[in-house]
């Protein structure tokens, strides 16, 4: 592994983590698509900044372009407030307009700018090591390292300093206002952070893939944890993995590094989507099956209990009644009754069903579970009647 390769990987990791951190808040605040808008809309800012400074990593350019991003957010809000179109349409109108202006500027002045439309979409991570920071003739390493390192530091500080405020305003805007935080100020601060990050990352991964690095790690982490701190850590971790694995896949295929990073983080999400403990598709399907099973047992026993009184119609407790009233087909009704027998909830007298003592306890527990004011503690309930197995 050469020094340049090492440098590229370090930069990729820094970019990925710097994006992943603010991304968590975008996902939680349901503003993910605003990152798409910002990352596209900064393009004209970058191009104009480049005309003025002639240096893509100039801090002035970063600030100017970031200002374009914040401007976009407020432009979307202004259009939204006119009520002429819905919010998602205003996002969908503003950023293509600004992005188009950027692309046209680049292709009109292609000779003067060392940007090209390919770089706009993919960034130039592979070239990052060539643009070096040299102070007094001493090579201090690639400039991008310092720019992105600075941005990562800003993001980290922002989140640490305003952690409590961000947390409250994300989960409960109303409460945040009454507690005296102004969510609006925090909102714009966050948008500024997102913009600055998008500008910094643009150079490395291009417009669209900034979105991947902001949204996907956060979405992945969101399927794994509820705790905000863990969410941030996992999100950063997903960014790190995608940066490293992405780099080597790109190296092996001789393809775009940024694209590979996005692909890897997409695969990470896919894995989580399928297998995340408790929330993945695999578990959801299993849980649904189990829920259906348990619910059928509850329905059956409670029904029998409610119709076991002296004066109740005995017909309510016969097999064919369930087909009729619960809309269970014959096979389904048989399975459910068989399961209840195995659970020792019921006993059969011909085709007349009655509850065992255990069944009665289960039915009562079910009933109080159902009528509970708050969300019931299903695990406690299960512990009492452990016989559930699929």
């Amino acid at each position: 592994m050469s020094v340049a390769q090492l440098e590229i990987q370090i930069i990729a990791v820094i970019v990925a983590i710097a994006c992943a951190l603010p991304g968590v808040f975008l996902v939680l605040r349901k503003r993910a698509m605003i990152s798409d808008a910002i990352s596209h809309a900064i393009l004209p800012g970058i191009v104009i900044g480049f005309f003025l400074t002639g240096d893509l990593s100039s801090p002035f350019l970063v600030l100017l372009a970031a200002a374009t991003g914040v401007l976009t957010v407020s432009l979307v809000e202004v259009i939204d407030r006119t009520g002429l179109v819905k919010e998602d349409t205003s996002i969908g109108l503003v950023f293509p307009a600004l992005f188009s202006i950027g692309v046209i500027l680049i292709s009109r002045y292609a000779g003067d700018v060392h940007l090209d439309t390919g770089a706009v979409l993919l960034g130039e991570l592979a070239f990052a090591p060539f643009d070096r920071l040299i102070i007094n003739g001493i090579d201090m390493g690639p400039k991008a390292l310092y720019v992105m390192g600075g941005i990562l530091l800003i993001n980290f500080l922002f989140i640490s300093v305003f952690f409590k405020e961000l947390k409250i305003s994300t989960f409960d805007v109303g409460l945040a206002t009454t507690l005296g935080f102004t969510p609006m100020v925090l909102h714009y601060l966050l948008m500024s952070i997102v913009s600055i990050t998008a500008v910094g990352a643009f150079d490395a991964v291009g417009s669209i893939l900034v979105v991947a690095l902001m949204i996907v790690p956060a979405a992945t982490a969101y399927l794994l944890t509820d705790d905000l701190r863990t969410l941030l850590i996992l999100s950063g971790l997903a960014g790190l993995i995608s940066a490293l694995a992405g780099y080597w896949i790109a190296h092996w295929l001789d393809a775009s590094i940024a694209g590979s990073m996005a692909t890897v983080v997409g695969l990470l999400f896919l894995l989580t989507y399928l297998f995340a403990p408790g929330r993945g598709i695999y578990f959801i399907i299993r849980r649904r099956k189990r829920q259906k099973y348990e619910f059928a047992q509850m329905t059956l026993t409670v029904h029998i209990m409610n119709h076991s009184g002296e004066y109740d119609n005995i017909e309510e407790r016969r097999m064919d009644h369930f087909q009729h009233h619960f809309n269970w087909d014959l096979e389904q009704a048989r399975t459910i009754v068989k399961q209840a027998l195995r659970n020792k909830f019921i006993q059969l007298d011909g085709d007349l069903i009655s509850l065992t003592n255990r069944g009665l306890r289960f039915a009562r527990a079910s009933q109080s579970l159902i009528m509970a004011e708050k969300d019931p503690n299903i695990n406690e309930f299960r512990k009492q009647f452990v016989t559930f197995n699929e």
């Binding site: 829920q291 329905t299 409670v302 009233h325 619960f326 809309n327 159902i370 009528m371 299903i378």
Partner: protein, 247 residues
């Protein structure tokens, strides 16, 4: 013996573990004007939506005049909560009412003159005929509600399900809606209304169902609308509910 317009047996609906409706048995006799009352989250809207096949139950059966809903659809009309649609949609009052005829038209076929006349007549009944060509975004809340009511009227059904048609409407609309309800009753139609205002139950309805996840009570207003059932449905807090009065 009286025919039942709707028969519900052992109906259970659940999104997660906590059921929204539990083991509901309910018969709705033909020709009644029924209010469904209960606290927030009692499953009132869900009950209607389940009868109409929008929500799938976990267990239980629902019969409309003895048949499953999808076989007897044309006998049923529905007035959803008016907040469920985008009133900035580019269309006119008449056009919305015409949608009530779509069900009987079936796929592809377009509404014609006959359907138009029917819709205009329905608009007249709800006193909105001057608004037929008005854009729907220009309507007040009460007018929107009356448009939805007209849309259900053109469905020409036997049973009408209405989800909070009196929620936040002006006095004119309230009166218009109530008049229509009484008129429907006179034609021996069955009307089921999710209702919030307990104080008006005895005036407006002749039948009431108390619902709170389970069916608490159902029957003639005269016999079941009493403190005991109110307390069972709303808990002891029912006394603080605005302006309740019982017979």
């Amino acid at each position: 013996m009286q025919t039942n317009a709707v028969e519900i047996n052992d109906l259970t609906v659940s999104y997660r573990y906590k059921p929204v409706l539990w083991d509901i048995d309910l018969d709705i006799p033909e020709g009644v004007l029924m209010a469904i009352v209960g606290p927030n989250g009692a499953g009132k809207s869900t009950l209607i939506k389940t009868i109409l096949g929008i929500v799938k139950p976990v267990a239980g059966s629902i019969k409309i005049y003895g048949k499953p809903y999808h076989q007897n659809r044309s006998k049923v009309a529905y007035v959803p909560q008016r907040g469920t649609v985008d009133w900035d949609f580019p269309t006119t009052v008449l056009d919305v009412v015409l949608m009530g005829t779509y069900g009987k038209l079936g796929w592809i076929k377009r509404p014609g003159k006959k359907q138009k006349e029917k819709s205009l007549a329905a608009l007249k009944e709800v006193k909105m005929h001057d608004f037929a060509n008005r854009q729907i975004s220009q309507l007040s809340g009460g007018q929107q509600q009356r448009v939805f009511l007209a849309r259900a009227l053109v469905q020409d059904a036997q049973i009408y399900f209405m989800d909070e048609p009196l929620q936040g409407v002006d006095a004119v609309t309230e009166k218009a809606v109530i008049n229509i309800l009484k008129e429907l009753k006179n034609e021996n139609k069955t009307v089921v209304v999710v209702h919030h205002d307990l104080s008006t139950v005895p005036d407006y309805f002749d039948w009431v169902t108390f619902l709170n996840v389970r069916r608490i009570a159902s029957g003639k207003v005269m016999t079941v609308f009493n403190d005991a059932n109110l307390e069972k449905t709303y808990g002891s807090s029912f006394r603080t509910l605005k302006g309740y009065t019982t017979a």
